[in-house]
């Protein structure tokens, strides 16, 4: 192949047909309310970890929907499980349970069980 002097990177376009749905499906099976998220940001604004680090629980939820499992692995351990986000959510989502499910789901994926 001809060398043009640059390399192509992975496309930035979201391809909804190629999303890795393993983690999101696992979460939704166990916590269907997760689908009701409005992306309002109340959880992020109140988040203990988010005020100290770049951790953003709302954004992470979106990335999980888009199948970004690698980044989720790096991020999720920043959560302190304090549960403040749970008190805020206007849609009544059990965000703490979502976080527990993310952790469990990642484990299962690692073991190739889903």
């Amino acid at each position: 192949m001809r060398n043009f002097g640059f390399t192509t990177t992975k496309s930035r376009t979201i391809d909804y047909e190629k999303i890795d749905t393993r983690l999101i499906s696992y979460i939704l099976q166990n916590e269907p309310s997760f689908n009701a998220c409005l992306s309002c940001g109340s959880c992020t604004a109140i988040c203990s970890a988010g005020n100290l680090t770049s951790f953003n629980i709302r954004k992470l939820s979106l990335q999980i929907r888009l199948g970004d499992i690698e980044n989720t692995k790096l991020e999720i351990d920043k959560c302190m499980l304090c549960g403040k986000c749970l008190l805020e959510c206007p849609r009544g989502i059990n965000t703490r349970n979502v976080i527990m499910l993310i952790k469990k789901g990642l484990n299962i994926i690692d073991k190739n069980e889903i």
Binding site: L38, S39, C40, G41, S42, C43, T44, A45, I46, C47, G50, N51, N56, R58, K59, L87, E88, C89, P90, R91, G92
Partner: protein, 342 residues
């Protein structure tokens, strides 16, 4: 026996009574307050034209006077009972019982009590107001606008969806009018405090009506109102009385801190307690949002599950003034059809 007993002397009740009177029916209005006009009495200006609310109120006061409508003020309904012959017995707080062929519930809405959202600091911090408080303040404004702690504001924030779209408040529905009211109030504040930076923190902007989107654009272009897409999570007070807001700017995907001199909470609309009482006394059907359930959303929105019992205005859910007036006119026609059939 009167033809139509109307519960509520706000705009919906008055318009229904005027329209029915013009069609030749005898009406009586029962109003719990000492004046007619309902919430409009406390409002300064109306969207989308910024016209004074008093103009609409004066119009209806004049229409009432012209027709010499019968109105019982300071009177509230304690029960509605449907009798075996299909007519109604309506008991009130006074020594008067009405018998009527039909009843219209035009008892409107209540405003969400912002104290229920403790994290927003209403009645805890001086400079937290509700949208209704701001209207009252503007209505009686004399001279320069100052915050409750007597400062000319340099930063003001409006918070959308307070007590609406919020499971924690027990209100999952959208109150429909607070978005455009926030935009209207933000423009008004910028006009009278041109030096102030004004923020609107929203989840979605619902500019559903004619002229609303235009107002929103004007707020951006002409008045430089800053719209931040994020819901307020909590408020704290600084030593100097300013307020510290925690909101995620979701479009930038970063938590943000905003310091303001005054915070305005856009309180939502709730079904009034009287509706719950009517539900109890006559088996009226309510929707999950606690407002009255229309018999048919599309072709029978003035009808209820009870024959002869009708609605006008916000007793069925949040509605603007112009929608309320139209709903009240529709109620009159629906009642006319009912009375001429029976």
């Amino acid at each position: 026996m009167i033809d139509v007993l109307i519960i509520g002397g706000g705009i919906a009740g008055i318009e229904t009574a005027c329209s029915l009177q013009d069609l030749g029916y005898e009406t009586v209005i029962v109003e719990k307050e000492r004046t007619i006009g309902g919430h409009l009495n406390n409002w300064d200006t109306l969207f989308p034209t910024h016209r004074p609310a008093s103009e609409v109120l004066e119009y209806y006061t004049e229409e009432t006077r012209k027709r010499a409508l019968t109105i019982y003020l300071n009177t509230y309904v304690t029960s509605i009972i449907k009798l075996d012959d299909g007519t109604f017995e309506v008991n009130t707080s006074r020594d008067v019982i009405f018998h009527s062929k039909t009843v219209v519930i035009a008892s409107g809405y209540s405003l969400f009590n912002a104290e229920r959202k403790e994290e927003y600091g209403y009645k805890i911090y001086d400079n937290v107001l509700t949208s209704a408080d701001l209207e009252k303040k503007l209505k009686t404004l004399n001279g320069e606008f100052k915050t409750p702690t007597d400062k000319v504001p340099e930063k003001i924030a409006f918070i959308h969806c307070v007590g609406s779209r919020d499971e924690k408040s027990g209100n999952h529905y959208c109150s429909k009018l607070c978005c455009v009211t926030a935009v209207k109030q933000a423009i008004h504040m910028k006009q009278i405090c041109p030096q102030a930076d004004i923020f609107c923190c929203y989840m979605d902007l619902r500019m559903y009506g004619p002229g609303f989107e235009e107002m929103y654009r004007e707020a951006q272009e002409k008045y430089h109102i800053q719209f931040i897409r994020g819901r307020l999570s909590e408020v704290g007070e600084n030593a100097d009385g300013t307020l510290q807001l925690k909101v995620e700017d979701t479009l930038a995907a970063r938590p943000s801190k905003i310091k303001v001199d005054m915070l305005v909470l856009m309180v939502g609309m709730e079904s009034p307690q009287s509706t719950a009482l009517f539900k109890e006394t006559c088996g009226l059907q309510c929707a999950p949002n606690r407002f009255i359930q229309p018999n048919d959303h599309h072709i029978g929105s003035n009808k209820t599950n009870i024959d002869g019992l009708f609605t006008a205005g916000t007793s069925i859910g949040p509605m603007s003034i112009f929608d309320t007036i139209n709903h009240a006119k529709a109620s009159a026609i629906t009642i006319k059809n009912y009375l001429s059939r029976n």
